[in-house]
Symmetry: C2
Subunit: 153 residues, 2 copies
């Protein structure tokens, strides 16, 4: 974690563990565990419509409708987590996908990109903002699914 002032190595370890647990909860389809990672006032920009979801209650309803479509015995894989923090706020971003499902399963067979804005509260770091997406090709307006997460440098 980039720690300009007051963040600690222990904060980075805790944040990494929390993000791993959040991904694990998706694979386990454990709605209650998943929702422990969000603040009541969270604002989400999700992969799919609507454009914005405001508040943990609305976000919980979204996940409740979505989790049945996650394959059973599914797992998640993530890469390239980067954290930047100071004091009680951290920004995290990573790439992730569902794994362990049949190649023709209709669940999303693509890498996705996630960003979280976390604020420390009572010893945890609930997300006050999350932004998840897949890029799209402006020529066709099609989502640019990718089996491998290409990068420009």
């Amino acid at each position: 974690m980039t720690t300009p002032e007051s963040a600690h190595a222990g904060d980075e370890a805790q944040l990494r563990q929390l993000i791993a647990d959040q991904l694990s909860a998706i694979g386990a389809k454990d709605l209650d565990r998943l929702m422990t990672h969000y603040a009541a006032e969270v604002v989400v920009f999700d992969v799919k419509p609507p454009f914005q979801t405001t508040g943990a209650d609305a976000w919980r309803r979204t996940w409740a409708a979505c989790l049945p479509y996650v394959p059973d015995a599914c797992q998640t894989e993530s890469r390239d987590l980067r954290l930047t923090g100071s004091g009680d706020v951290a920004v995290a971003h990573w790439r992730w996908r569902l794994t362990g499902m049949a190649k023709d399963h209709p669940a999303m067979q693509t890498w996705m990109r996630s960003t979280a804005g976390d604020r420390r509260s009572r010893g945890r770091w609930p997300s006050v903002h999350e932004h998840a997406s897949v890029p799209f090709d402006p020529q066709t307006a099609q989502a640019a699914f990718t089996p491998e997460p290409q990068s420009y440098t």
Copy 2:
């Protein structure tokens, strides 16, 4: 701005001004001014491919290729900016679009969603991360363009 500890009202005013200037630079097609808003190590998840762009040099090349497609005499409109900060790190998210172009102009006629992770450096707040996207419809894989930014609460 949500200020759990050490951020100041002056920080919020400065961050709002910087984001307004960043949007203004897009409308003005001013590449040099736009790039003052990014840290050298920025990692970008852009609206269009690639999946990830790493470093200000690569990101500058992306904007240099993109700005010619922004309509002349174009402006930008933003809504719902929210800031969360502590110490030297802030997370900002907002919705925005290009305005002032003909209704049939081929530039993207949609609202977009942006998230920035900013870290204070030498009195400014360059972005170490930016994530911009449009949601997509998983049934069709089409980008879900929207003339109005609908929200679920």
